[in-house]
Symmetry: C2
Subunit: 211 residues, 2 copies
């Protein structure tokens, strides 16, 4: 069993998608050991408590990043967390945090990275005029939205899209992508080839809806 | 009828895809008025001649860019060309060329721009580790691989892909994308909204295989 720690700052819709998928038994070997927030009163924490999950809030406001990260790490270690999933966690991780979980921290970003890193990815995509965007689940390294990619799902940009409509359709795909990415990581069947995260022994692999 | 000029430097597989689609009557209002090469002996020119198309070669080797572009422009104007399609034309256009055909020059690039501009886009995609890439038909402006996007098609990156295998699958999609993009431009139904190239009067638009 792999102990998962979820970090969130808001409603945590991706956390809920992950928790639902685990409850349905669709991520073999996964258990949510802790749900942590850096914001007091985050709705995602209430939802986690309602599901009987272990939660904690370590307020980051007015706290130095290194000190806050150390406090978060202590909670994660106390809960035996082995894999950290950022789910709308609106705070950059310190290098020390990344070093504490090497290639064991996942994040999801609402674009097809490396396009449109950083804030307001959906707005960036509309402003650029791309016809397709999507979401990316990736390992976290010390650069913003940069680590190796676990999987991506595509979303067409419609002529009528505004930022809210596009963001909503991307979010639907995020809720599919994140659980599938966790299952991929926990399967033990993938390894790194340079930056590529690929099946260990795959002479051929069929194309699927998820890429 | 819109007179199209194709510029190529090699075999011109995208030119052939465009010519085939026009011959099948699937790009209403399109006619290829000239096929020009900057390289002597380009196979694409022989293929164009075999189809009875008007061709010309203006060798660029040893020729200054502005002078070469002026000579190409003269051929295009003589042939009455209204829309220029770059199809493996391995030479940067001078600002004067771009100004001569404002928003009337199309190019195709083997990635989902703005990701992986420039040379070796397929190699860049594999090195980054993306799970999906594709091709982009865009208007040419004065920056490299930067103008407004007409359409994009996606291609999954398979675990077993090397550069050649990925490039071949992207090329299949290019051959669908380029004719479809020309049809979109010639339809007269699209206009610019900032950088977005969208249907003029589309209250809603269904998602399709082409984005």
């Amino acid at each position: 069993m792999t102990q998962i720690g979820v970090l969130l700052s808001g409603r945590g819709s991706n956390f809920l998608a992950i928790a639902d998928t685990i409850e349905r038994g669709e991520i073999p070997g996964a258990r949510i050991a802790a749900v942590l927030s850096n914001v007091a009163g985050a709705p995602g924490i209430h939802a986690a408590q309602a599901r009987g999950l272990h939660t904690a809030t370590v307020e980051s406001r007015g706290c130095k990043r290194a000190e806050h990260d150390a406090a978060m790490l202590e909670r994660l270690r106390d809960a035996g967390v082995e894999l950290v999933c950022l789910a709308g966690y609106m705070r950059l991780l310190s290098p020390g945090f990344v070093d504490a979980y090497p290639q064991k921290i996942l994040n999801i970003h609402p674009s097809l990275l490396p396009a449109f890193p950083g804030l307001d990815a959906q707005r960036q995509a509309l402003a650029y005029g791309v016809r397709v965007t999507g979401c990316t689940v990736h390992f976290v390294d010390k650069e913003l939205d940069h680590g190796p990619i676990v999987l991506q799902r595509t979303v067409p940009v419609l002529d009528t899209d505004d930022e809210a409509a596009l963001a909503a359709r991307i979010l639907e795909q995020e809720h599919l992508a994140y659980p599938e990415a966790i299952a991929r990581v926990l399967s033990g069947r993938y390894h790194f080839a340079g930056r590529r995260y690929v099946l260990r022994d795959a002479p051929t692999m069929a194309a699927g809806g998820t890429h």
